[in-house]
Symmetry: C2
Subunit: 350 residues, 2 copies
Amino acid sequence: MRYEEIDTPAVVIHEDIMRENVKRMQDFCEKNGYRLRPHIKSHKIPEIAHLQMDQGAAGITCQKLGEAEVMIDHGIKDILIYYNIIGSKKLERLSGLCQKAKIALAIDSLDVAREISKALVNSRGEAGILIDCNTGYDRTGVNGPEEALELAKQLMALPQLHFLGLATFPFPSGARDWFASAARLFADAGIPIQTISAGGSGFPTLSNEPIPLVTELRTGTYVFNDRTCVLNGWASFDQCALRVLTTVVSVTNDIVIVDAGSKTLTSDIRKGMTGYGYIMEFPEAEIFQFSEEHGHVDVSRCSQKPKLGDVLTVIPNHACGTMNLHDEVLRLGNDEIVGRWTVAARGKVR
Amino acid sequence: MRYEEIDTPAVVIHEDIMRENVKRMQDFCEKNGYRLRPHIKSHKIPEIAHLQMDQGAAGITCQKLGEAEVMIDHGIKDILIYYNIIGSKKLERLSGLCQKAKIALAIDSLDVAREISKALVNSRGEAGILIDCNTGYDRTGVNGPEEALELAKQLMALPQLHFLGLATFPFPSGARDWFASAARLFADAGIPIQTISAGGSGFPTLSNEPIPLVTELRTGTYVFNDRTCVLNGWASFDQCALRVLTTVVSVTNDIVIVDAGSKTLTSDIRKGMTGYGYIMEFPEAEIFQFSEEHGHVDVSRCSQKPKLGDVLTVIPNHACGTMNLHDEVLRLGNDEIVGRWTVAARGKVR
C-alpha cells in the first residue's frame, strides 16, 4: 500500500527511525555499562520486543501479568514485572509464568513478598526480587535505604525468592545519594547487591558519564519518542517514529476539525503542556481541544491553512497512551506500507 | 463468580442501574415527544444497543463507520452516522452499509455531500441527510440558518440523498433561536424539515417542557452515567452503572497506590475538574495523579484509610473513554457476576 492510500486515522511506525532509536539507546547503555531492559508498555508489540532483544537488550520490563503472558507466548524469556502482584488469581498466573521464563519482580512490601513466596512454594517456581525504592517520585517503593535493607533481610528468609538488588522509577536528583547510602548499608550487612535498576525516558540526558552503582536501565518511550520527549529535550521531532495520520473533516475560518480525537491520540497531557499533539505539516497549528472522535485545531497562526480532506501527520503527546488505543499499527518503510503489527499486549490491564 | 472474586482492575456494569437509566431516558423522551436515538459511542456493546432499541429507541447514533459496521453485523438496522465521511475507502464502506441498513448521515459541507452522492449513485444506495448545525459549540456544523438553507437546497439536487432536517451537538442556549430562525427560512422556501436532532447528556436538564421544534434526542453517557454527569448535576452517584474495581497495591502514609491508572480509567478530565474518579468507599479520597498503570490516591482526608489489598470501587470521570480501553466488561446482577459483554465496537477509529 502506498503512503497516500492510508485510511485515517491510522498509527504509522517509521521503521528506520524506530531502529535508529533502538540502536542509539542500546549504544548508550553499552557505552556506560548498563544492561538495557526495555519497558514494553510503550509498544506492546512482541515483534518490537524481539527487535530490542536482537539489538542487545538483556530482557524486557512489563507492568502487568497480561503483558508478560503475551510476551512469553511470543518467545521472550527474561522478564522483570515491575509491580506488586496481589491476589490469588494473579499469584496463580505468576506461578505459571515462573515455569516458562526467567521472572523477576520489583516489589515494595514484605506482605506482597510473603504471598508470592507461598505461591511459588506450592508451584515449585522461583523468582528474582528487586526492592522497589522511592527515591523521590513518591509513587511506590520503600522510603529509605534502611527500610530497603530491612526488607531485603526479611525476604532473603523467604523460600523461592532470590534477592537481586534495588530498583527505582524514575531517577530523580536524590537517587544517587539514596543508592550510595544503601550500598554502604548493604555492604556493612554483608548482603551483595547484583542489580541497581534505574528507569525513565530522560535517563540518558542525566549524565555523559556512567552513573555510579547503576547496572540496568529500564526505559520505554525511546523506541518511538513523542511530543513530551521533544518538549523535555530528550529527542527531536525527526526522531519520533510513531505518527498518527488524520484527515481534515471540517473547516471553519481559523479552526479545522480532524478525525483524530481522544480515542485516537489519548487525552494524556503533562503538567504545563498545552495542546494534544504536534502537526508536522503545520507547526504553528495547535490541537487545542479534543472530542472523542474530533481534534479541534487552531490554525489562526498558520500562513497557509489545511483544507478539507487534507491528511495531516500528528506526533502525539504520549506514544504509550496512543498505542494502547489501537489494535494494529502500520509499518512504514521507504515511503510504503510494508506490513502491519498487531498490538498484542494492548488492553492487558490485569 | 462472586463479586469478591473479581480480579482487578475490572469494569463492572450494574445491570439494574443501567436498565433504570435506559428506561428513565426513554420515558423522558416519550413524555416530551422526542424520538430517542442513543449514541453507542458510550458503550460500544451491541447487546446494550439492543436493550435500548427494545426499550423504544428509534435507532442508534454512531460516529465511525467501524462502529456502524459492528452494530449492523449484530442486527441493528437504523443508524445515524454523525460524521463527515471523506475518502474513497470510507465511501466504499459507506456504500456497503447503505445496502444493509437504513443509514442517515449528519454532514456540514457540500463537498462531502457530493462525494457521498457519487458513491451511492455507483452502488445504487440511498442515505438520509441531516445538516450538522453549529449552534454555539464551534466544533463542526454550518454557521447559520442561511447557510443551512443554502446547503439543503444544494444537496436536494444531488441524487441518492434525502434531506431529512437539521442536527446539532450539544444544545447550547442559542440553539432554540437558531432552529426557530431556520424553521422560518425553510418554511418560506417550501422545504419541509422532518427532523431536528439535538444531542448531549445534559439535554434532559434543559427543560421540563418539550423544547420547540426538537424531534429527536441523541445522547450516550446516560446509559452508564459517570463522575462528570454527577458533577454537572445530571445524575447521582447511585445512578452510575459503570464502576471500575481496583486494588490497593502500595501504601505510604497519606498516599495509596491502586492498580488502575490512565490505561484503565482514561486521563479524560473536564475543565475545572480535579481528580480522576470518585472512590465510593472513600468519598474523601482523591485520585490526584495517574501513571499508566497506577492511580495515585490522596487519603489524607479519610478518617479510616484503605489498606494494602483492599478493593475499591471507582466511578470514572468519563464512562465513554473508560469503555474504549477495555475488551470486555463484567455484568453484575444480584451481587453476582452473571456474564460478560465484549466491547465489540471498541477501537473502531475508522
